[in-house]
Amino acid sequence: MNPEDTKLSALLRQSRVSPALPPRFQEKVWRRIEDADAPANSASWLDTLAALALRPRFAYAIIAVLMLAGVLLGAQKGVNIAKQDAQARYVALEAPSALR
């Protein structure tokens, strides 16, 4: 290396202006590094539910529960309707509407 070049290099290094770092620069850099390393946790509750709904076992279980609940509630309502019909039939027979 030329001794002239060494001198020139030193002069150039001195002349370069290094800007001041923003406050808490180091801390922010480390935080960004940690965030990048952490596992992705961006899925919202909507995505979670949608993923759950697409799982066959979960979907079949929910359908079975809904069917059971529907049949039980429908049967209960049916019993009440049949009871009311039977009562109305009996009353119509024993007490015709002309008398009520």
Partner: protein, 162 residues
């Protein structure tokens, strides 16, 4: 629209259809089954927990009462036709129409008295507590409907309670 939202809406729609279908199927099956095996007096057996002996006695009372009830109903229908005929197309209530209306009222009262006698006889064929419930229920259904009509016609008045 976002894909997860579409999936969830579709799942909700399917769930609603499954639930509604099961509900209506269950209801229809139950009504059909219960109506199919029910006779005219089955409501009494179910509602008042009657045994075979009590039911046999009530059936006997019922079969004795029905021809009389039918005869009275035919008389009321005939008297009703006479009232209509007496009223004709006029705008006045004639003396004849008034007489017919009174006769119709008498027939109805007689028929109601027969009906109450029958209800009392049926209630006596049941265990005492069930009999009381039955009589209360039948009086409520057959007689109190007039009170409701009268109260709805004159909400400010309090007939017969003073």
């Amino acid at each position: 629209m976002k894909r997860p939202l579409v999936i969830l809406l579709a799942a909700l729609a399917i769930g609603a259809v499954v639930f509604a279908g099961s509900y209506f199927a269950g209801k229809r099956a139950c009504v059909a089954t219960m109506s199919h095996r029910a006779d005219d007096l089955s409501w009494l057996r179910e509602e008042f927990h009657l045994n075979d002996v009590e039911m046999a006695r009530i059936r006997q009372l019922h079969e004795g009462y029905m021809p009389e009830c039918a005869r009275m109903c035919a008389m009321i229908a005939a008297k009703n036709a006479e009232v209509q005929s007496a009223l004709g197309s006029g705008t006045n209530v004639t003396a004849q129409a008034q007489t017919k209306l009174a006769e119709l009222g008498q027939l109805r009262a007689q028929c109601q008295a027969n009906m109450l006698r029958h209800f009392i006889a049926v209630s006596q064929a049941m265990p005492p507590e069930e009999g009381r419930c039955y009589l209360t229920e039948m009086e409520k259904i057959t007689l109190n409907s007039h009170e409701q009509i009268e109260q709805s016609m004159f909400p400010g008045h309090d007939h017969g309670n003073n």
